[in-house]
């Protein structure tokens, strides 16, 4: 049991169900469990982009939902909105819009972002009101809990939880170390 903290491993492998950016043949996969309303995740958002820019084809990035809905009242709906966008092939545009407007994530704004990224608005609102993606978001959440995600953002580098600081330089060197180890 004492190993729980020292060797937290991603228990849900990356599959085609995931939202993935970057080359499938990249030697390193960075998985983030995040919450669109969490300010720390908001800070991590441009950092991940900078890390991706530096590492290019060597890095594959995966985002999974970990909304703390009691602490962040709009987080669950925002996560479902991103999934609804994914169903229309626009996950990453929505993901970016949500992080770029973290303080305005009420339903009216979600619809506005859906429109801005070019979604079929009717289909989008239907998905939200019928809770089409509630279970999907919950599945991400529970998978995170089982992998040792205790808060957000939590990163995994090639399946191993990353507990160090996630400023650009430290994260880039951790990914580089994983590339060498791969």
């Amino acid at each position: 049991m004492a190993d729980d903290e020292t060797r937290a491993m991603l228990s849900v492998p990356v599959t085609e169900q995931d939202h993935v950016q970057g080359s499938p043949s990249a030697p390193v996969t960075l998985v983030e469990y995040g919450d669109y309303e969490c300010p720390h995740c908001g800070r991590a958002y441009p950092i991940v982009k900078a890390v991706q820019a530096q590492l290019g084809r060597q890095l594959r990035f995966v985002f999974r939902n970990f909304p703390l809905g009691e602490a962040h009242p709009h987080a669950q709906h925002a996560a479902e909105a991103a999934e609804a966008a994914a169903a229309q092939g626009h996950f990453w545009e929505m993901h970016d819009a949500l992080f770029e407007h973290q303080r305005a994530l009420d339903d009216a704004h979600l619809v506005q972002y859906a429109r801005a990224v070019g979604l079929d608005e009717r289909r989008f609102t239907d998905a939200l009101t019928s809770h089409e993606f509630t279970a999907r978001v919950r599945r991400d959440f529970i998978g995170g809990v089982r992998s040792g995600v205790n808060g957000t953002p939590t990163f995994f580098i090639n399946g191993v939880r990353y507990d160090d600081s996630w400023d650009v330089a430290t994260l880039v060197s951790a990914v580089r170390a994983a590339i060498e180890a791969a």
């Binding site: 729980d4 809905g69 009691e70 809990v145 040792g148 995600v149 205790n150 808060g151």
Partner: protein
């Protein structure tokens, strides 16, 4: 150094206040598993994250018919303000007077700090400790260990 109660030990019974006029007695939950989550202090960042995580998992714990009880040495008014601020939907118990008495019985009182360890106990339907874990004070232990312990108990719970 702590000497947290080990699996197989009968969990000491206690009664602690959860509100100014309500006390919770451990033995009330006999017949169902109980998760006892000792944490050092209301409001401190790691505790808040840990309890916020458990708060999101109440539905998951319910699948095992398990009751979650948070315990710290903070007083009841502090607990009430903390729970209201964070929208917690489970009881926080005040191990306040005599201070840390229950934590001492479970072997998780920190004399040097006057707080409890960050310690988890899963107690089975018969009131026996079945899993315990003490995390470094600054580290959120998460919930995977709790869920695994509950899964281990589950077959018995369904027969019981």
């Amino acid at each position: 150094m702590h000497s947290a109660l080990r699996p197989g030990t009968p969990a000491p019974d206690f009664s602690l206040h959860s509100t100014p006029d309500q006390a919770v007695r451990l033995s009330e939950f006999r017949g169902r598993p109980v998760i006892l989550a000792f944490y050092p202090a209301d409001w401190s960042p790691v505790c808040g994250d840990q309890m916020a995580l458990y708060n999101e998992l109440l539905g998951e714990f319910k699948r095992f018919d398990a009751e979650l009880l948070g315990v710290s040495v903070d007083g009841i008014w502090c607990h009430l303000a903390f729970a209201a601020d964070r929208q917690f939907h489970f009881p926080l118990l005040a191990d306040f007077e005599p201070k840390g008495a229950v934590a001492r019985q479970y072997g998780v009182y920190r004399e040097q700090d006057g707080t409890t360890e960050r310690a988890l106990f899963v107690i089975d339907a018969d009131g026996v400790v079945r899993w315990s874990f003490v995390s470094p004070v600054g580290v959120n232990p998460g919930a995977d260990g709790i869920l695994r312990a509950l899964e281990t108990l589950a077959p018995e719970a369904t027969h019981g």
